[in-house]
């Protein structure tokens, strides 16, 4: 899977300058206003020293040439030393301030973005790959924070240096100044021309580079397939095409870069040459109004001074579009409202309840804490409009019942569970908890009363203990181990050298799939939920372990409502009710023996399952007959 392919188009810019976006960019720097003001002040001082330094050089030359032995060079030396000192101190302050602002702004945007992402509905996630979201909070944030701090510095310092030096020149000799200043427009034009292209080519390089990475990854993962299909030569040929693109893009980028500086230097040289010619003629005339040799040298070197501010400013300008696009994306994220959240009524109920303080048996939204029944009433759902995944689904669950869903993949089993957990809300119909439509209860309350175990268990990097404790942050070590024992994970955990403190790596890579399922099971049990939800929770666990889990689980499930999606027979058979779901509809419903007698879909599923499971047992050598 190439990373490029899954990423929505993100590097296309509207080109239009959007003032409101820029206002938002600078509003991020709001908390650092004080720093930013000081930053601007310091940048001004730096610009001033940059303007004055050439004057000191001029002073030294003129003083030395005109006054010879009476020249007061120590005076200039002191002035220069002071200037240098101020400049260095200011520079130091400048970097620190800009660092403070840029790191701070990046931190704040990331913090807000992360918080927002925790609230956004799953429908938001469905359309955006994780990689895309990560980029928003990493490189986009960095880009924005850079421009708020360093962009301001470049603007102030660059602008003021340009204006300052020009003013000094105009003041000293306005005619000659105009000749030299004539290099500014072509320099600006050249800079912008190249910076824009350089930005585009380097973006292209990055893009091709990620294709190369994807190709490597594919070739390593699919090495057996490549070998068996004898695709080595074709693959290399195709890969050669990509590296050829990379070659072209990088060389283009490098060539542009190596054209840029020589051209700018030549333009600078042109300014210096104009100064030498025009100024030199004036100096040679030796009139009383003629300029001094020091002034001449100042003019010759001034064209060079322009180079850096113009370079920085044009880079800023070229980057502006990319920054604007980043800002649009980031503010887009920050301003997206979650589709599923507590209604105003629920929020006010939570507030009233907060004021009155906690009460036994009362949930945070002021309604009953205990969940007795769950009812789906004519629930339909579609991820995409017009494509119903679930149609007119009805189900009433009585206290303590276990409901099992079976049926082919894509039939809608997982959707029912997602709706129950309020990861999505029904497109029509309602879900009632103890007779109350669940949109009138607190989202947080509902979700913290659910214990969910998914087929692909997601664990966080950290220790096994931390992962189990995720279910109940207050649990002590004894409780964690108790949960581990119930799901029969205790044994394999204690076999690790570090036991419960074993680091499991990112995403739990150090554990097998079955082990991960057990840990995530223990996590859910520790949460002590009122409703238990298991979506193929033990599919990768061997039959023996599964049987052991069932025994422990029976105690846990007693008195709780639970929903199970499973293909393991033991889990299904003991359910109070079994629903066979296909194409978003319930096609069979009843207890195990009722459905077997029906000899329909369930019968077929069950017999297949039975055969497979037994085969597996025999092949694993578990049951010797």
């Amino acid at each position: 899977m190439t990373t490029e392919a899954v990423r929505p188009k993100e590097e296309e810019y509207s080109g239009q300058f959007n003032w409101s976006v820029w206002k938002k960019v600078f509003s991020f720097a709001g908390p650092y206003k004080r720093h930013l003001r000081r930053l601007v002040g310091v940048a001004l001082i730096v610009a001033a020293t940059d303007v004055v330094t050439p004057l000191v050089t001029r002073g030294v030359i003129d003083d030395a040439v005109q006054n010879r032995d009476e020249a007061q060079l120590w005076f200039w030396a002191i002035i220069y030393a002071i200037l240098a000192l101020i400049s260095c101190v200011c520079f130091w302050t400048l970097i620190r301030l800009a660092g403070k602002v840029s790191t701070g702004v990046a931190h704040d945007i990331r913090r807000d973005g992360f918080r927002r992402l925790q609230e956004l509905s799953f429908s938001y996630y469905d359309h955006r790959p994780v990689g895309w979201l990560v980029t928003r909070l990493t490189s986009d944030c960095d880009r924005l924070s850079r421009i708020t701090a360093w962009g301001a510095v470049d603007l102030v310092w660059g602008g003021c240096t340009l204006i300052g030096v020009s003013t000094v020149m105009l003041f000293l000799d306005w005619k000659l100044a105009l000749y030299v200043l004539a290099v500014i427009p072509p320099m600006v034009w050249l800079s912008i021309f190249f910076q824009k292209r350089l930005l585009a080519t380097s973006r292209k390089v990055r893009k091709v580079n990620s294709t190369i990475t994807a190709a490597y990854s594919e070739s390593i993962m699919g090495v057996r397939t490549t070998k068996t299909l004898v695709r080595e030569e074709e693959n290399l040929h195709e890969f050669g095409g990509i590296t050829h693109d990379m070659f072209g893009a990088s060389v283009r980028n490098a060539i542009l870069a190596s054209m840029y500086f020589p051209l700018i230097l030549s333009v600078c040289g042109f300014g210096g040459a104009m100064a030498l010619w025009m100024g030199g003629v004036d100096v040679m005339a030796k009139l009383p109004t003629s300029m001094s040799i020091g002034t001449l040298i100042l003019f010759i070197s001034c064209a060079r001074i322009f180079m850096f501010p113009i370079h920085e400013l044009s880079r800023l300008f070229a980057e502006a579009q990319a920054v604007q696009a980043a800002a649009e994306r980031v503010t887009g994220l920050l301003e997206t409202e979650p589709e599923i959240k507590d209604s105003p009524e629920v929020r006010s109920a939570i507030e009233t309840r907060n004021e009155s303080g906690p009460q036994a048996g009362v949930a945070i939204d002021g309604q009953a804490e205990k969940i007795e029944t769950v009812e789906f009433r004519k629930v339909s759902f579609a991820y995409k409009e017009g494509k119903d995944v679930l149609k007119d689904f009805n189900l009433t669950v009585k206290p303590g019942q276990t409901i099992a869903f079976v049926g082919p993949t894509g039939g809608g089993k997982t959707t029912i569970i997602s709706l129950l957990c309020r990861f999505y809300e029904p497109t029509s119909g309602e879900i009632l908890i103890d007779g109350v439509e669940y949109r009138r209860r607190s989202l947080h309350w509902l979700q913290s009363n659910l214990g969910i175990v998914l087929q692909t268990p997601h664990l966080f990097s950290g220790t096994i203990r931390e992962n189990i404790r995720y279910g109940n942050l207050q649990a002590n070590d004894g409780q964690v181990e108790w949960a581990g024992k119930i799901v029969n994970a205790h044994e394999f955990i204690t076999e690790f050298e570090d036991g419960y403190d074993t680091e499991i790596g990112e995403g739990g890579t150090k554990l097998s799939m079955g082990q991960k399922q057990l840990v995530s099971f223990a996590r859910a049990i520790l949460a002590d939920p009122q409703i238990f939800v298991m979506d193929e929770a033990t599919s990768s666990v061997d039959t023996e372990t599964e049987r052991l889990i069932q025994n422990g689980l029976a105690k846990i499930l007693a008195g709780r409502i639970s929903f199970v999606i499973a293909h393991r027979l033991s889990t299904i058979r003991s359910a109070d009710r079994i629903l066979v779901i296909r194409d978003g509809r319930v096609i069979e419903e009843g207890t195990h023996s009722e459905l077997i007698r029906l000899k329909g879909e369930y019968y077929e599923l069950y017999t297949n399952q039975f055969t497979e499971q037994r085969q597996e047992e025999i092949l694993a050598g578990k049951t010797q007959q």
Partner: protein, 609 residues
């Protein structure tokens, strides 16, 4: 170290001349760059101030011949034009240097990437089994990038720094030795400071990278596990955890900025001091009449040229260490031997040739590199066009048998023959081209389904592809996708189920139409009903391929011409379905499940009556 140099030198083959040209251009560019200040000096002293011309005799002669001071004074633009022209010329060489150096270094990088890619494809499976994909990826991407940067930038930058100094020092010494020494007074300290600084702060850079990595990893983990976060309503907890990582990254980043503030301001101070020394000493020298204004001007210009860039050398020096590490890491991969390095190919049939498909295993023993025994004295014989089914518990050696036939692993003892010819003596690519394999977890490339299926035989027509897909019972599923056969595997929103992936891989193998077809638990994720359809369709093609089937379901195996049962690397039973049913053993036990199912159904239906 010398090994690494040799590695680099070999990599550069074919580009060495271009590199040499780039270096020559760099020297010229640096040398010419110093001429404009010298012309400025001459213009100021000789033309404007009316002093003597300090220059080599031939230059003096040339100036005299050209028209001397009076002509130049009347046409001062000539000096200006010469300055611009020489700057442009230096720029031109600079450009050529950049162009050639980038073409050379990018060619090398391209060759390195291609070589790595091809080498990885040809490394034996045993190598891929024991290496970590993430680590390989790291070496192929960021290590190659480090080497590229080293070749494209670092070598050139250091070279330029050296050449600039090498040109500047004699020029300055020739102008005025005392001033020249003063102008270089702080050069050493600046260079040392920058090197020492960057080597010292390497850790800070690393820590910041790590803090950033930790934050990104946490973000990634949170977003992929967002369902778990919601399911346990742990948003607050996650925000706190992220807040900590976020703040740590900010602090490290800011810490780096603070250190950099010291670096830039200190090195600036030293540079300004150096400039100040030249300025004041120059002033005194002019006052004392030891140097001319023009010379002073030239000194100021030249000092500016080399002073500021020198500060960057430290960073580059500090990064050099990284490049040597990267070269080592990439070299390690390339030093591994390809799977066919020791092959003695005696029989080299053309790949277009079609084998008959007779397979013979004779006394095959096989153990993994770590010594675990996998196959023990296996002998079997499959006639062309017949089918062999292999049954056995996991770990019994079924897949190893297949892997040996495919030459994914090399057998040492015993003999495997295809059409009577020893496998070891044939080109392994020929052997593989005769076999179509479908694995339990098939790998599909991230391209369209059409291309994926046609990988089997790229010249195939669309009708043939559809036919193959129909045999594999996946045509309807594909036609249901919005873009049909043009659906790109793995692209947003389109994910194939395990069963669909298996069927696409099967279609690919069927389209290839090989003499030998191997299904290694290839239909495990396909439901029984579909599996029966597929098997029925395959049975109609009976006789076309020699077929090897590994499966757990008896329904898949029972119709094979011969069935073998493997346990612990040995063939414990073999025969047809009927024969095996008569013997006690694994096969019969599996067969009996059917009756135990009837028991189970009978038992469960009674109590509720």
């Amino acid at each position: 170290m010398s090994g690494k140099c040799k590695f680099l030198w070999n990599l550069m083959s074919g580009q060495r001349f271009r590199y040499g040209a780039a270096i020559a251009a760099m020297v010229l560019s640096a040398a010419i760059m110093f001429l404009p200040p010298l012309i400025g000096r001459a213009a100021i002293d000789y033309v404007i101030d009316g002093k003597e011309l300090y220059a080599p005799q031939f230059v003096k002669n040339f100036v005299e011949w050209f028209g001397g001071r009076s002509l130049l004074a009347r046409n001062l633009w000539i000096a200006g034009a010469a300055m611009v022209g020489l700057t442009a010329l230096s720029g031109l060489f600079g450009y050529l240097k950049g162009r050639w150096a980038s073409i050379a270094s990018e060619s090398i990088a391209r060759r390195l990437r291609n070589r790595l890619y091809d080498h990885l494809q040809h490394l034996p499976c045993s190598y891929h089994d024991k290496t970590n994909t993430g680590d390989l990826m790291q070496r192929c991407s960021s290590d190659v990038e480090t080497i590229r940067m080293f070749l494209a930038m670092q070598v050139v930058e250091i070279g330029r720094g050296g050449v600039t100094l090498a040109v500047a020092v004699p020029i300055m010494l020739a102008m005025n030795a005392r001033m020249a020494i003063l102008a270089m007074l702080l050069l050493g300290p600046i260079l040392i400071f920058s090197c020492v600084f960057f080597i010292k702060v390497r850790n800070i850079f690393k820590q910041m990278d790590e803090a950033e990595g930790a934050m990104t990893a946490m973000l990634q983990e949170n977003l992929t596990g967002i369902r778990v976060v919601r399911a346990f309503a742990r948003q607050g907890f996650e925000c706190e955890k992220f807040g900590e990582k976020n703040a740590r990254y900010r602090n490290h980043w800011f810490g780096l900025m603070r250190v950099m503030a010291w670096f830039w301001s200190c090195s600036d101070a030293m540079c300004m001091a150096q400039y100040g020394i030249v300025l004041v000493a120059g002033g005194y020298s002019i006052a004392a009449g030891r140097i001319s204004v023009g010379t002073f001007f030239a000194f100021l210009m030249i000092v500016n040229m080399y002073l500021w860039p020198i500060r960057r050398i430290g960073k580059i020096m500090a990064d050099l260490g990284k490049a040597t590490v990267s070269i080592g890491r990439v070299g390690e991969i390339l030093d591994e031997q390809c799977e066919d390095h020791a092959d003695k190919v005696k029989i080299a049939p053309s790949r277009a040739e079609r084998a008959g498909g007779e397979i013979v295993f004779e006394n095959i023993n096989f153990a993994h590199e770590d010594g675990t025994h996998v196959l023990d004295n296996i002998s079997l014989h499959v006639e062309p066009g017949r089918s062999l089914a292999i049954l056995g518990p996991s770990g019994s050696g079924k897949s190893t048998l297949i892997n040996l036939l495919l030459r994914l692993y090399d057998y040492r003892d015993g003999s495997i023959r295809l059409d009577g010819r020893e496998l070891r003596e044939m080109d392994r690519k020929f052997v593989r081209s005769q076999i179509g394999v479908v694995l339990q977890e098939p790998f599909l490339y991230s391209r369209s389904l059409r291309e994926n299926i046609k990988l089997g035989r790229s010249a195939a027509h669309d009708e043939e592809m559809v036919e193959a897909a129909s045999v594999a019972c996946v045509h309807e599923a594909i036609a249901d996708f919005d873009s049909g056969y043009d659906t790109v595997v793995g692209e947003r929103g389109v994910t194939l189920s395990g069963g669909q992936q298996q069927r696409v891989a099967l279609a690919r193998a069927i389209l290839k139409d090989p003499p030998i077809l191997i299904l290694d638990d290839a239909l495990s994720s396909v439901d029984t009903r579909t599996e029966n359809l597929i098997l029925g369709a395959l049975r109609q093609r009976h006789g076309r391929h020699t077929t090897l089937v590994i499966a757990h379901r008896l329904s898949t195996l029972m119709s094979a011409d011969m069935i073998i049962v493997l346990e612990n690397g040995r063939i414990v039973q073999s025969g047809t379905h009927e024969n095996l049913l008569k013997e006690p053993g694994l096969y019969r036990r599996l067969w009996k499940i059917q009756s135990s199912l009837e028991d189970d159904l009978g038992l469960t239906s009674q109590p509720t009556e």
